[in-house]
């Protein structure tokens, strides 16, 4: 895992600095490009979408979707991204699609503790939902990708996920005339490039929005009957800084609620028997900062009743187990977040909180299942 993410980080940095769509090139080629800037720039296939622009509508409770200026969503890129998302050809043995681990039936998770990659390889982290990922400032539990475009290439080549080199993915797709037409419609030419794949997948993922839950109708839709009395009590505990204190990290704003601050916190989940070491060091993996050891990105709580098991290591099976974990103050370790220490929950509070978490299940967006003809 170390070399893989180190590589991704380097790539992100380089890309950020030189603003050069180098996704298709390997790292070696990229370095050469840096040394020989003129020679390296010879044939860059544009990855800017050309089709019919789409304005993505956010459901009740969610803010407008942030759109990167270089990849505005279009009808064509979204359709292409959707097809790619459900296409098993992106994996080495043609058995896995993105949707295998981010399955719409399980609210875009896989329902497993750890995901199974190609050849039954088991990962070390729980697959997060992709619903509302468009709002996240960081992708992955350790934040090693900054945006959906950067993120998309990673699972394809990851040996414990789809395990297929990007060159092979590109040439497999190039052989399919349907794809050639779709790439032409989306980007102007038939060229299949990794950058175009990334842009299309990212635009499709930006349509995976889920809001209008009972909570949203209560909080933002002026429907005071949308929550049960117990859920209303649970909401009060959720935002009370000396009871649940949950909203300190799972944020609720005046106009909308993402239920995540997009930041990294240490709850002690996964700390070893010595009380200090972490099997999975989380954010530390990326930053090398000692106090980040054992910190993970705050996940959204939207649809949480449908996305068990929980936490980065999928170690908690039920919402009751999660709430009890917080009620006990998490697991002590040198970097435990101080917000955890303000949590005080009675037995009744814990039941009310679980009931409230069950009110966060939202509508699933339309047109995000397997593309027509692929069901």
């Amino acid at each position: 895992m170390v070399p893989r993410s180190a590589l991704i980080r380097r790539k992100t940095l380089l890309r950020g600095r030189i603003a050069f769509p180098a996704g298709r090139l390997g790292l070696g080629a990229l370095l050469t490009t840096l040394l020989l800037p003129v020679a390296g720039c010879k044939s860059v296939v544009p990855a800017k979408p050309l089709g019919t622009p789409v304005s993505i509508h956010s459901p009740l409770g969610l803010p407008p979707v942030p759109i990167p200026p270089e990849n505005p969503p279009t009808v064509q890129t979204i359709a292409l991204g959707r097809r790619l998302f459900y296409d098993q050809r992106l994996s080495k043995d043609n058995t896995l699609a993105c949707a295998s681990c981010h399955n719409p039936k399980f609210y875009f998770t896989d329902g497993l503790q750890f995901s199974k990659g190609v050849g039954g390889e088991v990962g070390v982290r729980n697959a997060p939902t992709l619903l509302n990922v468009a709002y996240q400032p960081f992708q992955f539990w350790d934040g090693r990708a900054l945006n959906l475009e950067d993120q998309a290439a990673s699972p394809i080549a990851n040996p414990i996920e789809m395990n297929q080199s990007h060159d092979v993915s590109v040439s497999k797709l190039r052989r399919d005339p349907v794809y050639r037409a779709m790439f032409r419609d989306a980007f102007g030419t038939e060229d299949v490039t990794l950058k175009r794949i990334e842009n299309a997948l990212a635009s499709f993922e930006r349509t995976l929005l889920s809001g209008n839950s009972a909570f949203d109708r209560f909080q933002y839709g002026h429907d005071s009957n949308a929550l049960t009395p117990q859920q209303v009590r649970g909401l009060a505990i959720f935002i009370n800084p000396v009871k649940g204190n949950c909203a300190a990290c799972h944020t609720i704003n005046a106009q909308y609620a993402l239920f995540t601050d997009g930041k990294f916190h240490n709850l002690g989940e996964g700390v070893g028997d010595d009380g200090t070491s972490f099997k999975d060091t989380g954010r530390y993996h990326q930053t090398g900062i000692e106090t980040d050891r054992g910190a993970f990105k705050t996940p959204t709580l939207r649809n949480v009743a449908r996305t068990a098991p929980y936490m980065h290591d999928g170690s908690l099976g039920t919402l009751k187990a999660v709430v009890d974990f917080y009620a006990g103050g998490g697991n002590s370790n040198p970097n435990l977040d101080k917000e955890i220490k303000s949590i005080h929950l009675s037995g009744q509070d814990r039941e009310d909180l679980v009931s409230f978490l069950n009110s966060l299940t939202g509508d699933l967006p339309a047109n995000v299942g397997p593309p027509p003809g692929k069901e």
């Binding site: 002690g268 700390v271 028997d273 009380g275 908690l316 099976g317 009751k320 187990a321 009890d324 974990f325 009620a327 006990g328 103050g329 998490g330 697991n331 002590s332 009675s346 037995g347 009744q348």
Partner: protein, 260 residues
């Protein structure tokens, strides 16, 4: 000339830096615990070893049994099977006092005893710690298990050792923990169920016991000598006794706590 001097002084400075660098490096292994040769383990001669036995009693009016309300967590009510009572003063027939921790507090200085290989177990069962009072040796493994259908969060509130707390859900594997320094006693609570209490005595020798329901205790295999025997009780405090053991002697040491 001047430049040679400068170069020379540069050399001196840099070699000084180098040598302090080296000496620091040389010091490091000394501070690492692994490099300290462990003192030899003391062997008790079974031909001369004696023992201490005794009874702990409570004199006075026995406080009424105080029921404990587990209804905060309905799953606990179910798991506990029957009524729960406060067990901080457990008095049996004839004033026998259970759950007192008796240990040798002086007289073993300079002797180094082996760490037992077998673990001591704390079970969380019926939303209750079993046992309520226990002793372990320094660095002996303590296995913490959760037999309940609910999550517990065990919290040894150590002062000398590292204090910690850790969540353990239903069906989670045992935790294997150690206490690295002697400490009598470490109060233990569950962060979720505030009625759950236990006490752990950590000693650097094996000469300790917890009084049974009939108030009795035995501390076997003790080298002959003069010792201070200390008793600790969570509500009734501590007491000391001097005791001399001659070879192969089984010496008696009873304790009495006076109630109100």
């Amino acid at each position: 000339m001047a430049s040679t001097l400068r170069r020379l002084s540069f050399l001196v400075v840099s070699s000084a830096v180098l040598s302090t660098g080296c000496s620091r490096k040389a010091e490091q292994p000394q501070t690492a615990p692994a490099s300290q040769p462990a003192p030899p383990v003391y062997h008790v001669d079974s031909a001369t070893a004696g023992s201490i036995h005794g009874i702990v009693r409570y004199q006075g009016k026995v406080p009424p049994k105080k029921p404990i309300d587990l209804s905060e967590d309905p799953a606990c009510v179910e798991a506990h099977h029957g009524k729960a009572y406060d067990e901080s003063i457990l008095v049996g027939r004839g004033g026998a006092l259970a759950n007192a921790f008796v240990y040798v507090s002086k007289g073993l200085e300079g002797k180094n005893f082996a760490t037992p290989a077998e673990a001591v177990v704390i079970d969380q069962k019926g939303c209750w710690f079993h046992p309520h009072v226990l002793g372990v040796q320094v660095n002996q493994t303590v296995d913490i298990i959760n037999s309940d259908p609910v999550t517990h969060n065990i919290h040894p509130m150590a002062a000398t050792n590292r204090a910690w707390n850790h969540s353990q859900g239903p069906g989670d594997p045992p935790m294997h923990r150690k206490f690295t320094k002697p400490e009598v006693m470490i109060p233990v609570k569950c962060n979720i169920h505030d009625w759950m209490h236990a006490y752990i005595g950590v000693l650097d020798h094996p000469y300790f016991a917890v009084s049974a329901e009939d108030g009795t205790f035995t501390i076997p295999n003790l080298p002959p000598g003069t010792y201070t025997l200390t008793i600790w009780h969570e509500k009734l405090g501590t007491q000391d006794q001097q005791i001399t053991i001659s070879p192969q002697q089984s010496a008696a040491a009873d304790f009495t706590y006076k109630g109100k």
